[in-house]
Amino acid sequence: MLDFFNSNETIHFIITVGSMLLFTIGLYGIFTQKNLVKVLISFDIMESALFLFFIGLHYNFGLVAPIVDGSDKTFTNMVDPVPQAMILTTIVIGLAVLALGLSFGIEYFRLTGINDISKMNELRD
Amino acid sequence: MMESGFHGCDLDDSLKCKLEESGTQNTHSVMEKAAAWFRSRSIFVVAYGTGCGAIEMPPTFTSRYDAERMGVVGVATPRQADLIILSGYLAYKTLRRVIRTYEQMQKPKYIITLGSCPINGGMYWDSYNTIKKLDDYLPVDVSVVGCMPRPEAVIDGFSLLQKRIKNGEKAGWEKYDENLDFYKKNQKRVLGNHVDPSYETDWYNLENGSEV
C-alpha cells in the first residue's frame, strides 16, 4: 500500500493534481476577487502552485538535496539543482513584485480610499 | 382757383417772352432733312398709361388699328423711345415719374397727350393733386383732344407729329432745353424742393458736360 504511495508516478500525480488545484484556487481568486490585496494573494497562490509543481516534478524517490559539501564529488543521487535555483530566484522576484504591489496599494489607498481594482478607473476612455 | 398760381400766371415775363419766341423753324441741310424724314418714319413709343386713355393704346397698336404700319411701334424703355404718350390726367406723383421718364429719353423726343385733362385739368380741374396744364411742366408737342380720343384720333395725332417732324418744325424738346429754368421752376413748385436727390444729376445739370 505504501509502495503505491512511494512510487514516482503517484507522487508526481499527487503533486500535479495538488498544485493545479492550488493554481485553480488562485485563478478563482483572480476571477472573483477585486480587492487589490486579495488579487495579489491570488497571484502568489498561483505562483506557489507553479513552484510546487515544478519542484515536485523534479523530485524522484531516493534522491537527496543537491548540496555539495566538498566530500562527495560524484553528483549522483541528487535532485536536479537547476529548478531549485530557478524557483529560488523566482520566489525572490515574486516577493519583490508583491512588496511593490502592496506598497502601491497602500499609497493608493491613502490617497483615494480605494482598494477595489475594478474601481481604479480614473485612467480610462 | 385755389391753385391758380400753378397755371403759370405768375411766371416771369422774361420767361414768357422766350416761350413766345420759340416758334417753327425749318431744317436746312440735306442730311438734316433726310434724318428728319427717317425720324418721321420711325417713331418708338413709350406709352405711359397715366389715366383712362391707357385703354386706348392696345387697340391703337394691335391688329385693329395697327399703328406699326406708320412706323410707330411701342418700346419698353425710355432710353429707346422717341415719343412718350401721356394718356390722361397726371397726378403729382405721376408727374414726377413722367418727368424722369421724359428726361431719360434721348433727343429728339416728343410728347403726345391724350384727352383734355393734360390740357386744362378736365374733370379734375379742381383736384388737389392733379396738374392742370401739362405744357407748363413738360413741352407737349401734340395734344389729342377727346375724352378719351378714339384710336383713329390717336393715329391722327401720330400723323400730325410725323408731319411736323418731317417739316423740321421746332419741337418740344428744343423748347425744353431752351427754357429749362422755366420748366424746372414749375416742376419744383409742384413737386417741392425735396425731390429725389438724383434730380441734381439729371440732364438738366449735365447739359454743359459731365461735371459730376
Binding site: - | 418714319r41 404700319r69 432710353r79 429707346q80 433727343k107
Partner: protein, 297 residues
Amino acid sequence: MIFQIILLIMLAYVVGFIYMGLYRNITARIQGRYGPTVYQTFYDSIKLFSKKNSVSYGWMFYLGPVIMATGAVLTLILVPVFSDSDFLRSVTTQGNLFLLLYLMVLGPLGNALAVGTGGNPFGVMGVVRGLTRLIGLELPFYIAVVGLIIASNSSDIVHIIDLQKTTGLNILVHPFLFIAAMISMVGFFGASPFDIPGAPQEVYSGPRTEFSGKFLALLMSQGSIFAFAKLVLIIDLFLGGADSLWMLVIKTFAIFITIIFIGIVYGRYKVEQAVDFLMKIPTLIGVIGLVRIIWFG
C-alpha cells in the same frame, strides 16, 4: 479683298434688314394687320443713328456693342456665303465650325459686358436669362454640328458643302440633326417661344434696356448681319450652300420663313421651361441623329 469683304458686309446688312423687315411684315400679316413696310427696320436703324444723344456709361459700355458687331462681322466673313467663290473659300478656311460656334457667343458676351457696365439690374437679369437660355439652346445645335462634323469628318464648312454635292443634302441625309438645329435656330433668332431674355413685361427690354441712339442702332445692324450669317450657316450646313445670289436668297428665305412660322404660333416659355424643353425634345432628336451617324452611319 477689302472691297469684297465690305461688299459682303453691305449685302448682309441690306439683306439682313430686309429679312428683319419681312419678319415684322409677315408677322403682321399673320396677325391680320397691314404691318410696316419691309424697309421699316432700315428706317429705324437710320433714325437711331441720327439721334442727337446716346447715353453711355463709360468706355466698356461704348465698346460692348462694337465687340458684338465685330463678332457678327467676323462670323459673316468666316461663313462661306457663296460656296463657289474662291476668295470666300480661302477666307473661310482660316476658320472652322468650332470657331464659328464660339464666335457666335462672342457677341452676346460683348453685349453682356456693356449691359453690366450700364448697371441696370433689369439688363443684367436679361443677360442672365439669355445666358441660361443659351445653355439649353446650344445643346441641340451642338449635337447637330458635331453630328455633321463626324459625318463629314471635317470641321471645315467648305468641305461640308462640297461633300453634300456627292452625298446629297444634309437635310435629307441627316433630318434629325436638321430638326434639332432648326429648333435651336428659332431661339437664336430670338423668336418665340425662346424670347424670354428681352421680355418687356418682366425685365424692360432685357439686355437692351439701357441702349439708345447709335448703340441701339449698332446692335440692330449687327443683329441683322448676324441673322443673315446664321441663315447662311444653316444653308451651308444642311442645304448645300448657295452658289448664286438667287440660290442664296431662296434658300435663306426658306429657312427664314420656317423660323417665322414656328415663332409666330407659340407663346413665350419661361427660361426654365425653355431650357427644360430644349434639353428634352430637340436634344433627344439630335441624339437620335447622332447615334445614327456614329453607330449606323
